[in-house]
């Protein structure tokens, strides 16, 4: 029986090109019609160390990485030593004959024979895996053509030769490995990671300016805007520090350019001063915070969901904000787009809270229909209303007409102080109260616009798993596993974590016997927010080892905590 699902770990040192093998294989799988979830684990170093690229592929839809590996592809001995125990029953190790596979069954290969030069070992590994999985040779071959055409025909030819050698070698081996079951009708899908999706969502929303200071795992958002920015007319500036990044984005926004600032917790900590400025100056601003474990430098390349409180309370003073937390790559795209609309609509800072796991997790996604997205709200170029223009006119909604300077004779005044409606410094008690209340009233609009949490599972579950952000896939699959075991389990995912609107989920909480909040931090930050919103939970599953959740981890934790006992 061909397998419907496969779980492959490729491990090696940084600089060995495992990401290349991983990405080429991922794309080959997606082009062959499979659903894919990728998880990347890497150390904070440029060469050496130990990194893994884990691909889970399936005929059916999948949502999370899994633990037991079917294949361990070891590019160095360290991978064998560290990860052999992650092979599941019947799992195989694939490595060069020079490595010690410690008696585990598998394939030992002479990479020297397959690849004329070490740089082609990547392609040899791709060919081996693709043929073992039963992928049509034309799929990786076409991918190599697409990838290397710009380097010249000779290079493409050499790559094809290595690929063919690998396919021929596998055919000779008769390794007895079951290929993947074929996909009934392959559908065109994209291979995309979380940060790429955020950048694309921003571009679809008309982002025009991005200022950033490099910090893993946020840098690739800016990198994607740089790569495609010229084509799409986006100006991206790498600046002197995060403080400049935030203030520049505010300046650009004042001047009418939709602005994005990507960063991670450590960088965001420096930006909070500017968040407060955006709030009082009522300047639209989208900030992407890709979380990694802290405090301070923490685990620079790992994942965590511990900066929710930082973002929720960032900046001094009081003002409304919205925080989105995409659970999938599709959501990353849609919510990045939505964030721009909300930022403009409420002239406030809006946040997209992601993390390393989602940032670097490639998925198979349906192509986006960019033209069906609603156009984000836009500022005015000139004041045509009654009376003189007032940038901070007091209104019922709290939102004042926003004109951008330089397109008409309308003068546009932005200020960081408490100000009069026309933007000038004031100490007047009445004005202070009026302006503050006006800004806070924008929160009512944000409140009306909250994305409802998504629910999967039976109506009155014994256990409800509550997740936010990137934990969605693992929580959804954990609930699926439990249901397969006869437990009435459901999952509820929040892709907007602030504001929280109790009436959107109170009934789900009421209907469940047990409510377990699953989140990637040590103190249950979101659980505390739920409590604040008036929702009672009964248990927590937390993870703060720097690695993402898996369904198995959640189910084991539930068993251990007794949450599954009646």
């Amino acid at each position: 029986m061909p397998e419907k699902t496969v779980n492959i770990m490729i491990g090696g040192a940084a600089g060995q090109g495992l990401a290349t093998v991983g990405q080429l294989l991922t794309k080959s799988l997606i082009r062959s019609g499979y659903h894919v979830v990728v998880r990347q684990d890497y150390m904070s170093r440029v060469r050496g160390g130990h990194n893994t690229y884990i691909i889970r592929a399936s005929v059916d839809e999948i949502y999370a990485p899994r633990e037991a590996m079917d294949f361990l592809v070891a590019l160095n001995q360290e991978t064998v030593d560290l990860h052999l125990n992650e092979l599941g029953d019947g799992g195989l190790i694939i490595c060069d004959e020079a490595l010690d596979s410690k008696g585990r069954p598998g394939l030992s290969i002479s990479f020297k024979d397959l690849a004329p030069k070490p740089i082609f070992q990547n392609v040899a590994a791709l060919g081996l895996l693709a043929s073992l999985l039963g992928l049509d040779r034309d799929v990786p071959a076409k991918l190599l053509t697409d990838t290397f055409t710009k380097k010249g025909e000779a290079i493409v030819k050499q790559n094809h030769e290595v690929l063919d050698a690998a396919y021929a070698w596998v055919a000779e081996q008769n390794a007895g490995i079951e290929p993947l079951a074929p996909v009934p009708a392959p559908v065109k899908r994209l291979m995309m990671g979380g940060n790429e999706a955020i950048a694309l969502g921003a571009m679809a929303a008309g982002v025009k300016f991005c200022s950033f200071y490099p910090m893993t795992p946020a840098t690739s958002v800016a990198q994607n805007l740089i790569t495609h920015g010229r084509e799409l007319g986006v100006v991206v500036e790498q600046v002197e520090d995060e403080i400049a990044a935030m203030n520049m984005a505010i300046g650009a926004s004042y001047a009418g350019a939709r602005s994005l600032v990507p960063t991670s917790g450590g960088g965001f900590a420096l930006m909070t001063e500017g968040v407060s400025l955006a709030a009082v100056a009522e300047t639209p601003l989208v900030c992407v915070v890709a979380m990694r474990p802290g405090p301070a430098t923490g685990l620079p390349t790992r994942t965590e969901q511990a900066d929710l409180n930082l973002v929720l309370y960032a900046g001094h003073g009081e003002y409304p904000r919205a925080i989105f937390a995409p659970g999938t790559v599709e959501e990353a795209f849609r919510l990045a787009h939505r964030a721009f609309d909300q930022a403009e609509r409420y002239q406030s800072p809006v946040f997209v809270l992601s993390d390393q796991f989602l940032a670097d997790s490639f998925r198979s996604v349906e192509p986006f229909d960019t033209r069906s997205l609603p156009a984000p709200a836009s500022p005015l170029k000139e004041w045509a209303g009654e009376g003189p223009y007032e940038r901070y006119a007091v209104t019922d909604s709290g939102v004042s007409p926003r004109v951008i300077p330089g397109f008409s004779e309308t003068l546009v005044v932005g200020d960081s102080h408490e100000h009069t409606p026309d933007g000038h410094i004031t100490e007047d008690i009445e004005m202070r109260i009026e302006q503050k209340q006006k800004r806070l009233r924008k929160g009512c609009g944000l409140w009306e616009d909250v994305v409802a949490p998504s629910y999967i599972g039976p109506e009155s579950p014994d256990v409800l798993l509550v997740s936010w952000g990137s934990t969605k896939g693992a929580a959804d699959e954990a609930a699926m596993d439990l249901r397969a075991d006869g437990v009435q389990a459901a999952s509820l995912h929040f892709s907007q974590v602030w504001p929280l609107k109790l009436d959107q989920f109170a009934a789900k909480f009421d209907a469940a016997k047990k409510i377990v909040v699953v989140e990637g931090n040590a103190t249950g930050q979101f659980a505390a927010l739920l409590k604040l919103a008036g929702a009672q939970y009964t248990g927590l599953v937390l993870k703060y080892d720097g690695r993402p959740f898996t369904p198995e981890y959640i189910v084991t934790a539930l068993h251990k905590s007794g949450a599954l006992e009646a």
């Binding site: 082009r31 994209l190 694309l200 571009m203 495609h228 400049a244 192509p367 932005g414």
Partner: protein, 283 residues
């Protein structure tokens, strides 16, 4: 034709006799000389007494945070290269809190003008030493006298080959207006360091103190000679040279960004065809 009244009349919160009044007078004259109407430029500032300047002139303005005027101003200019951008900032604001931004702005060379109201003291917070306060000067917060060497913004800017570096004096509005106009007409990042008496908190660097020392550069001074400019910039003592100290013509940062050739960023519509082409790369 723009008239000087177009820039408005405001009551200020500055102390009577403050050097800031002379600076504002010169700003008006320089704008008038270039026939720039209030809606045709953006005036940006941070925090401090100097940074209140944009509130006292009819204009587009953005008054941001302490030390952060330059990032805001550069982005305004990058977003709309049709708009001249002027920054008013104190020595604490631009050389202290925003020192890193100052260095970066000099290097980046966005076309804009920084007017540094250099009163060698923190005015708004009532008289603490600033980065330009002279060594030995006693203040309430430096009762033993300032131990640090003062920051010489002009020398630093010249050392970095800032594309336009001038020094002027708030007590000589004619000279100052001329320097501001030259700076605004210059393509690239222009610094005008303005000696500005703070009559309330700096009892050392008074109008008289500056007048005694300030000398205009001779007519035959060559601002494009970097080594001469370095020596000139280093002078801040018995003699303080005023004028255009250094200038280097080079393309401004904006010209380096092809995306800006199509006009203001606010005007550019999203190119969905381009976006679809980009998405195809993910197949």
């Amino acid at each position: 034709m723009v008239k000087i009244e177009d820039y408005g009349e405001f009551t200020t919160s500055w102390c009577p006799g403050c050097g800031n009044f002379g600076i504002m007078q010169a700003v008006r004259q320089a704008l008038l000389a270039q026939d720039i109407a209030p809606h045709q430029f953006v005036y940006v500032s941070g925090i401090g007494q100097a940074a209140k300047a944009p509130h006292y002139l009819r204009s587009n303005m953005f008054n941001g945070l302490h030390g952060r005027a330059l990032p805001v101003a550069q982005a305004v200019r990058l977003s709309n290269t049709n708009l001249p951008v002027l920054v008013s900032s104190g020595d604490g604001c631009s050389y202290g809190e925003g020192g890193n931004h100052f260095l970066a702005a000099v290097r980046r060379n966005v076309n804009m003008t920084l007017l540094a109201h250099n009163n060698q003291i923190y005015g708004l917070t009532k008289g603490q030493a600033s980065p330009t306060t002279m060594t030995g000067q006693v203040t309430k917060t430096q009762p033993l006298g300032v131990a640090a060497t003062p920051f010489n913004p002009v020398a630093v800017a010249v050392a970095m080959k800032c594309s336009f570096v001038a020094r002027s004096f708030a007590g000589d509005t004619e000279h100052l207006a001329q320097m501001i106009e030259l700076a605004m007409r210059h393509e690239g990042f222009a610094l005008v360091d303005i000696l500005q008496p703070c009559v309330s908190f700096n009892k050392i660097n008074t109008y008289a103190w500056y007048k005694e020392r300030c000398v205009n550069l001779p007519d035959d001074y060559d601002p494009t000679d970097w080594s001469v400019a370095m020596q000139t910039a280093d002078k801040f003592g018995d003699e303080i040279p005023l004028g255009l100290i250094y200038k280097q013509d080079r393309p401004s940062y904006e010209t380096h960004i092809p995306q800006l050739a199509n006009g203001p960023l606010a005007q550019a519509a999203t190119d969905f065809d381009a976006l679809d082409r980009v998405l195809e790369k993910f197949v």
